[in-house]
Amino acid sequence: MSEPISCHTPTAPPTTDNPFLNGLWKQNPVFVQVLGMCPTLAITNSVRNAIAMGLATTFVLVFSNTLISAVRKLIPNQVRIASYIAIIATSVTIVDYLVKAISIPVYKALGPFIPLIVANCIILERAEAYAAKKPVVKSMLDGFGMGFGFAFALTCLGTVREVLGAGTWLGFPVFGPHFEPWVLFVLPPGGFIALAIWLLTFSSWRSWRMKRKLAEENSQLVRVSEVA
């Protein structure tokens, strides 16, 4: 258990000082780090489910990050993963009962994916990479940032899938009564396709920005050489 547990080793993107913005955008758990794929694909067939799942995960992230950061100096190194998992499982149990108490339809729609938050790699990754080293307030902010970043990504995906697959957004009709829903998008293959489209959009945007930066640097170099 002493091995670092994360699903793959993402290339470390540049980090900022603000842990909240860092999680929300620069190191977005879904679009940049490609973590927590199971709920991302499974729970985004409607915007309502996506938001509920995002909020539940945010709660678990904030709870576990804060608690782990608070007791980080008491946990011996050899049993740290086991202790993290115990803390995470406790907070997931709380969320499980909380969602059940707030809304039964949402609880039924999310189904086994609420208890499965325990196995979401984002949470263990944040515990291991951030909360285990940083003070309490920063870890809490990091939990909020990562959680909202995750919720934002789920909402993006849920929007594409619900608008195309059912012709509605959050239950409100978008295209009028003559729209023939593209059912494939609320079915499993649609999840894969929608996520692929979002990832392609972001990576092409990033490569376009990189090219522009390079062009700017080149033109500056040319100007410098002209002056010389």
Partner: protein, 194 residues
């Protein structure tokens, strides 16, 4: 409670395939499907862990019901899974050091594979007995193994062809998975409307 064993098998293996229809174990499905040789080893070790932890958690659930402590389920299941993974690691290390070296890094990762936790949760929700639980665990994890092997074979072929650098990596893998998933949707009719 009275589901026939063949129906449970078909349902978990094909109709509701863990990876392609329920979206479980996506991280390892995308991360470890680059080569067939690692994919089938990962698939087999996940199969072993799921079957062992599924049977163990069946007994633990009976115990939890007996002492009226159902709220401890999630913690109990995750501890069982972590222990099973640890035991598997020790067992393989003792019996076959060569295989252990090849699997090495991937073994501890099984703990965070959500397919492993899904099985005990489903066994509890559907109230399966011991035989049904065993069949469900084996067929579900077999479905995972089949899916990851299929994807790795496709990806090995894709590696030989010319793809734009933009689409390489996760996005392309996701599109391949979508096509496989569409193929598996065809099995939905097999369950007799189930």
């Amino acid at each position: 409670m009275n589901e026939s064993l063949s129906h449970i098998f078909l349902d978990a293996f094909l109709i509701n395939n863990f990876v392609l229809c329920v979206f479980l174990g996506m991280c390892s499905f995308i991360g470890l499907s680059g080569k067939f040789s690692t994919a089938w080893r990962m698939g087999l070790s996940v199969m072993f862990v799921i079957t062992a932890s599924g049977i163990l958690s069946y007994y633990m659930n009976q115990l939890l019901i007996a002492v009226h402590a159902e709220y401890l389920r999630i913690i109990t299941y995750i501890v069982i899974i972590a222990a099973t993974v640890q035991l598997t690691e020790m067992f393989i290390k003792k019996t076959s050091p060569a295989l252990f070296r090849e699997l090495g890094v991937y073994l501890p990762l099984i703990t965070t594979n959500c397919a492993v936790l899904y099985v005990p949760l489903m066994l509890t929700a559907r109230n399966y007995n011991l035989v049904q639980s065993t069949v469900f665990s084996i067929s579900g994890s077999g479905g995972y193994c089949a899916a990851i092997c299929l994807l790795s074979l496709v990806r090995e072929r894709i590696d030989l062809s010319d793809v734009t650098s933009l689409a390489k990596g996760t996005a392309l893998t996701l599109v391949l998975a979508a096509i496989l998933s569409m193929a598996f949707m065809g099995f939905a009719g097999m369950g007799g409307g189930a």
